[in-house]
């Protein structure tokens, strides 16, 4: 009896507030936009029966997504931005994780805390902090002009470059932590063995350390790539009007154009796009767990 209660309460909550909303999104993505309240047709009507209702649904919105090149350009550009910034996050994050894992054990918890601390700080504030740095009169340009590297201020804010910087900055902890935990578990004697057998330090890194840290690298890349793909805050604050990202398109479709069916269709396609990396990520984690036990 009590077990049933324990299962039913969270189960019902998630069904009602997670699964049912998705069914609604799917349904509205198959409906037509209309000047009504709420602004789509058909409305469900018990009197007409469920088949009459289903017969009115169609894939028109999805056809529309393939015809208007705004949408597929936005999907492609989100993919490009997410992949590029994941790569740069890896380039920045790996040396930090490596440095942390090589630090004396006494320092490691403190270093860990300093990596996690920004995660507890508001995401919005961390993105906002870059607006003042990257703008034309911003501190970065002031510094570069003062030091004589440039004579004209660089335009960085409101370009894709600023979006890359924003993503690398805000998602860096997600990259560092899994790589660090992979490196920390590594047996140091393996490197010594490689060096004894005649490897140089660099070769030992490429042949021993890097392959052993691969699960951490893969986990970190997914943890950055998946949220970056649907990102909304960073492109809308740091990106320009030509920065196309699907999260921003969905937002504008919904709030500015008030086209709910198209916004829902965009959401459905974004979800389909995410299924592949999410499944791959799950498989990687499972393999990792099996290897551990």
């Amino acid at each position: 009896m009590r077990r049933a209660f324990l299962i039913l309460v969270p189960y019902t909550w998630l069904l009602a507030l997670f699964l049912v909303p998705f069914v609604i999104v799917l349904k509205i993505s198959l409906s037509d936009a209309a000047i009504a309240r709420p602004p789509y047709l058909p409305q469900f009507d018990w009197a007409e029966g469920i088949w009459a209702f289903l017969a009115q649904l169609d894939f028109e919105n999805f056809v529309w997504l393939t015809q208007d090149d705004l949408y597929w350009k936005a999907y492609l550009s989100s993919l490009k931005i997410a992949i590029t910034s994941t790569f740069f996050t890896l380039l920045v994050g790996y040396p930090i994780a490596y440095g942390m894992a090589s630090a004396p054990p006494m320092w490691r918890p403190t270093l860990m805390m300093f990596v996690i601390l920004p995660f507890w700080t508001s995401f919005l504030i961390r993105v906002y902090a870059w607006m003042g740095i990257l703008s034309n009169e911003g501190l970065l340009n002031q510094f570069l002009l003062w030091s004589g590297f440039i004579t004209e201020p660089l335009v960085i804010l409101n370009t894709n470059l600023a979006v890359y910087i924003g993503i690398v900055y805000t998602y860096l902890p997600f990259m560092i932590l899994p790589i660090y935990s992979a490196l920390e578990r590594m047996d140091g004697s393996l490197i010594e063995a490689a060096e004894d057998l005649g490897c140089s330090r660099t070769t030992a890194f490429w042949l021993v350390t890097l392959p052993l840290s691969r699960p951490g690298v893969i986990a970190g890349c997914f943890l950055v790539f998946i949220p970056a793909l649907g990102e909304f805050v960073i492109p809308s604050l740091l990106g320009g009007s030509d920065t196309l990202m699907i999260g921003k398109v969905l937002w504008e479709e919904f709030f500015s154009n008030r086209d709910w069916p198209v916004a829902s269709a965009v959401a459905v396609v974004l979800l389909l796009l995410l299924v592949i990396p999410i499944v791959l990520f799950q498989r990687n984690q499972q393999k990792q767990q099996e290897a551990d036990t």
Partner: protein, 271 residues
Amino acid sequence: MNRMSWFNTVSLTLGFAFLYIPMVILIVYSFNESKLVTVWGGFSPKWYGELLKNEAFLTAAWVTFKVAVASSTLATVLGTMAAYVLVRGGRFFGRTLFSGMIYAPLVMPEVITGLSLLLLFIGIGLDRGVLTIVLAHTTFSMCFVSVVVSSRLVTFDRSLEEAALDLGCTGSEAFRLVTLPIIAPAVISGWLLAFTLSLDDLVIASFTSGPAATTLPIKIFSAVRLGVSPEINALSTIMIAIVAVGVSIASLVTKYQMTRQMKEEQEAERN
């Protein structure tokens, strides 16, 4: 691995500089006298005064706080239940769907979660306001809580619970007297995580809030869209300070608990 080469020192220094310099700049410029955020006009705390006079921000902060307390508490209860069911529940009908629904919100883009919840609320005719934001935040943060709590439940020795039951505890007594104290640190960190997630959320709150309830991130976002302002810097500084104090207290408490636990274990070994 235990080698500190110049390369490691440099990468750590640069890495932490990259992580922290933007926030330091933000804090420094919140004490700027000048209205122009990029020009230093001398030290002044005047923007904090302006902030305290700004009714709209104060109201929004209060709404955000209420939402965060309510949703994180609800999420902790539901998430702990869900974790218990997942780890101890055994097999039941629809278990795969249940665990799927626990993990999916963790990777779901916020725009999709927000949109779907909004469509639900409109579908059932629920007026958007504090209640709808609480419902939305509870839903995604209970999943984070359940992940944190279940990782603790997995590692703990089940025979302790069984011993309590053998010694005459009822099921709920065993949970209250044995299980709960052991998983308490995970439950507390789950609550803290849910609280911060709720404080921080812009996208889902924007979809699910109505004109009657505006949260602080929504307010900040609409102000920031127009450009950088020293008042927002002051507000950010206050929020960073709260987080820093909270995290330091939390880490001190865990450190104290760990040393106490180690002492107890040592004593137990000696006896």
